[in-house]
């Protein structure tokens, strides 16, 4: 309660707040996308909020960045003057310094600001003007509040940060920037100018010597023919070391994630495999692959688990009915749990003809000659596949959810299910949020949202689901109500076993955050 200045008291003790929420008042201009988790060694160690405080001149604003610790406690505030078009997209902490990544859609640039523990700016890096593809990707990520955007990361124990850009005049190709405030090291790798293929990079993982990047290669922007390579760059100077080929003499591969084996120079890549000759954006995968290499890029081990041969026979009749064909599974994440098992999280979807939207499109085009039929994606249940350490399938868990229908726009009927799946991911149509590992409690949690999709703004039925798996036990699902009158709502990754829920009330100019712990 605010003390009235007219009451003179012997107020000597300010008690600890028992409020469940952290509230920021008088926030005049705020975009809920300008909030995020601060990640350290793959785990969330805090959060940030970026908002405009004041106008400095015609082109620049005064912004505030509030840094919060793992329990939403204030740990610091930074005021910066920046372009009025600036957006803070990601933040990461490598143990000694904090790196903020900004995107300016007007200038079409990416910039990085590196701060030491005393909040002093130690380095600022700016990219050139982004090319068309990079700009499209950045805008999409910004509009969809995508958190799992892998164009920037801290490198865990190795220290430092990497960021990926594709700048003009390159139409194809990309740059990788590495910087470390502690050692002062900095390098930039540019994909060869002679490279004619279109290259789309994303960070996979790193060891203390190598940075691995997943690189999707296409002959042209429009082709559906795509290969997935893994580039290895030397951490000390960025020198290109080798390129993991996208295929062998039997199959071709698309990797999702990777992890290291401590005490060795081995790295394992997890993903899907396809028949040779298949167009990866159109074909259905044949199953999952676990591929281990050493620091020279030599194969150590490769294991395949086939849908038809290995997985299907272990499913119950019910599960087989649900999984008619695995190709209509969008794989969000494949990872190794704290206990060493492998898990793959996928969301089922079906492509159907969107009769209503197509009819409108036809009517709108007059004669119907230029009509573009639309596809609708029906997003269904969430699946978690469990594999042993030796990559043998041990079980499948199905999480029932409310179906949702997402209209994919005019002309989408012509796209393959796989492309539509990728588009749906880009637009944020799936319900899957993220997977979080808890090394202390030795478990992991798969998080997703569910609600009645036909419901309006009040989101009465909206809930955040957290399915936690402990070793040798089944998943325990907790749900947290997200019912709110807020203008906008966002869930953020938080410290293991928790989620941060952000609600912005535009009329009251108020932002509320609360940290919720999962029950299991």
């Amino acid at each position: 309660m605010k003390r009235n200045q007219l009451i003179i008291g012997l107020m000597l003790f300010s008690g600890i707040s028992f409020s469940q929420k952290k509230t920021f008042s008088d926030i005049r201009k705020f975009r809920i996308r300008n909030t995020g988790a601060i990640v350290q060694s793959g785990e969330v160690t805090g959060s940030y909020i970026f908002y405009q405080k004041d106008k400095v001149d015609k082109k620049n604003n005064l912004y505030v960045i509030e840094f919060l610790g793992p329990n939403l406690e204030s740990v610091g505030t930074k005021e910066i003057v920046a372009s009025k078009f600036e957006n803070l997209t990601q933040a990461a902490y490598d143990g000694t310094s904090l790196c903020l990544r900004f995107f300016n859609p007007r200038e079409k640039t990416i910039s990085y600001q590196l701060y030491d523990n005393k909040a002093s700016l130690v380095k600022e890096l700016k990219s050139g003007e982004l090319n068309k593809y990079a700009l499209m990707t950045e805008n999409a990520a910004l509009n969809q509040n995508l958190e799992t955007f892998s164009n920037f990361s801290e490198l865990g124990q190795a220290g430092g940060f990497v960021g990926y850009e594709a700048t003009k005049p390159k139409k194809t190709g990309f740059d990788v920037q590495y910087f470390d405030a502690k050692s002062g090291k900095k390098w930039k790798y540019s994909s060869p100018a002679s490279e004619s293929m279109h290259l789309y990079p994303s960070y996979l993982c790193s060891t203390d010597k190598i940075v691995y990047t997943l690189v999707a290669k296409k002959k042209s922007a429009m082709t559906r023919d795509i290969d997935y390579h893994v580039y290895a760059n030397r951490l000390s100077d960025g020198k290109y070391m080798f390129d993991l080929p996208p295929k062998d003499n039997k199959y071709q591969y698309m990797y999702y994630s990777a992890f290291n084996h401590p005490g060795t120079d081995h790295t394992t890549f997890l993903g899907m495999y396809f028949n040779l000759g298949d167009k990866l954006l159109k074909a259905k995968s044949q199953g999952l692959v676990m591929h281990t290499i050493n620091s020279k890029g030599e194969d150590v081990e490769k294991k395949h688990v086939s849908w038809a041969r290995d997985i299907s026979k272990l499913l119950t009749a019910d599960q087989r009915l649900k999984i008619k064909d695995a190709g209509n599974m969008y794989f969000h994440h494949i990872f190794r749990s704290p206990q060493g098992k492998i898990y793959a999280v996928a969301e089922q979807y079906k492509k159907v003809f969107a009769a209503g939207a197509s009819a409108l499109s036809m009517l709108g085009s007059g004669s119907g000659a230029n009509a573009h039929p639309s596809a609708k994606l029906v997003i269904e249940d969430l699946f978690v596949y469990e594999f042993s350490k030796n990559f043998e399938l041990e079980g499948v868990k199905v999480f029932d959810k409310e179906k949702s229908n997402q209209n994919m726009g005019p002309g989408s009927l012509y796209y393959s299910s796989q492309i539509l799946g990728k588009l749906a991911k880009g637009y944020g149509f799936f319900d899957y949020a993220y997977t979080q590992q808890n090394k202390v409690k030795d478990n992991f949690t798969v998080c997703y949202m569910d609600y009645n999709k036909d419901e309006g703004k009040k989101r009465k039925t909206m809930k955040f689901y957290a399915a936690t798996k402990q070793a040798e036990s089944d998943f325990v699902t907790d749900k947290i109500s997200l019912e709110t009158d807020a203008t906008s709502l966002r869930t953020l990754r938080a410290k293991p076993g928790h989620v941060v829920i952000l609600e912005y009330f535009k009329k009251e100019k108020k932002l509320e955050m609360r940290l919720e712990k999962f029950n299991y």
Partner: protein, 471 residues
Amino acid sequence: MGLKMKKSIKIIATVLPLFFSGIISYAQLIYKSDQFDRVIEEKKGDVQILEGLSKEQLNIFKPHITSYFKTLEYNYKDSLYLFSTEINKKVQDIAESIYNANQDRFTQKPFFILSTSDQPNAFCDFNGIMVVNTGLIELVDDEHQLAFVIAHELAHFILKHAETSMSKALGVLGSSEFKGKIKEIKRMEYNKVKKFENLMKDLAIKTSSHSRELESDADALAVELLKNTRFNLSKAIKVMEVLEEVDWFYENVQYNLSALYGTSEFPLDNIFLTDPDKGFSFFQQQTEKEKKLQDSLHTHPDCAERYKTLQGSISNDSKTSNEDELFSNIKELSADITLKRLLKKRALAYSYSRILYLEKNQNWAKEYQVYKANIFNQFSEAQKKHRLNSLCPKKSPNMPEAFKEFVVFIHNQSVKDFAKHALVHILNTPIELLSKELADDIKQAFEVCEDEALKIKVASHYKRKFLDFNF
């Protein structure tokens, strides 16, 4: 200098056994008073501090006054204020001693209210309404110290410090210079917020430095007010030492989690004590200017400094009072009432800390054992509904270390862990304190707990008192 809370076990006075035997129950305490209703209505109709103000000035201050009265009325309806207990009599007795010895200094007789708030606080407003918290009474050593606090607050009232502060604020807010600056800021297109912030900071510095003078004046007058009373000045001013260490509950409580929670039924898992949070030590160093500003925003000067000043202004006082012996019972009653208020308001982590402290220092606090089971059952229910944060705060940097460890311990528990702790507390509860109401209260814990052996033990424990009892 630490707080010396030498507690010898005193013989329980007449009130307390009656209290704990149920003859005087918490529910029988009186929260209503016709006199309160009448006095507040009178004060609302005659707010002298607003007399003579212009329309513009009234627009600034009237909403605050209205809001203040609404707060008083809300607190009254919320049963924050207590009437007709031994504590009320003591506070009234002290206050009237001071008033009677100094009547010529007062323009009106103050009205005293006892609040069950845990804050170690007292205040007297511009209307002569004086509120004293039980959270303060349980903290002070004797009636002399309490008398100093009351005298200090009455001094503010006599010296019309509220009016002084208001005049000063009006002087600044109403000055043409200030109004001119506001107009200038409104006209600005850029850097508006920053300019306004700087203007308010300067205003805050000016008003806070003025507040320090007022506090010194109130201290000096308090000494004068006590001179002709029975209260010993040398003992009275020692309240400054006590108030210097106001966070004593947190720092002096020995949580000793390993000893408290390592039982054969529920061995303590180290994971409960492990703080899982990574150290994210990113902070902003304050500039020298900002540090100075933060210091100057403290409206009360350092208690240690005030104590020195007061010591220099008084000679050795040898007055004694035969009320000293009885005061300890008042303190104990205050501690009990404060705790029960906290429990009622579900400030459970804080309540639990107080229970641990009281148990260690007071024999009569053994009854509080029953609350522990209830608290953990409530933690379990709250965590199930994701409302634990409202009962126990999350760890924060400003917390004393011992309390930080305690909240980390609490937040490391799951719904089932809390339930198990609740049942273990039942096992540790003496049979004479078990009740069917308690069993009802912890039903949720019993249902949630998966340890069948523990449940059987708890049921058997209950059957030792209630033969046909079943959960």
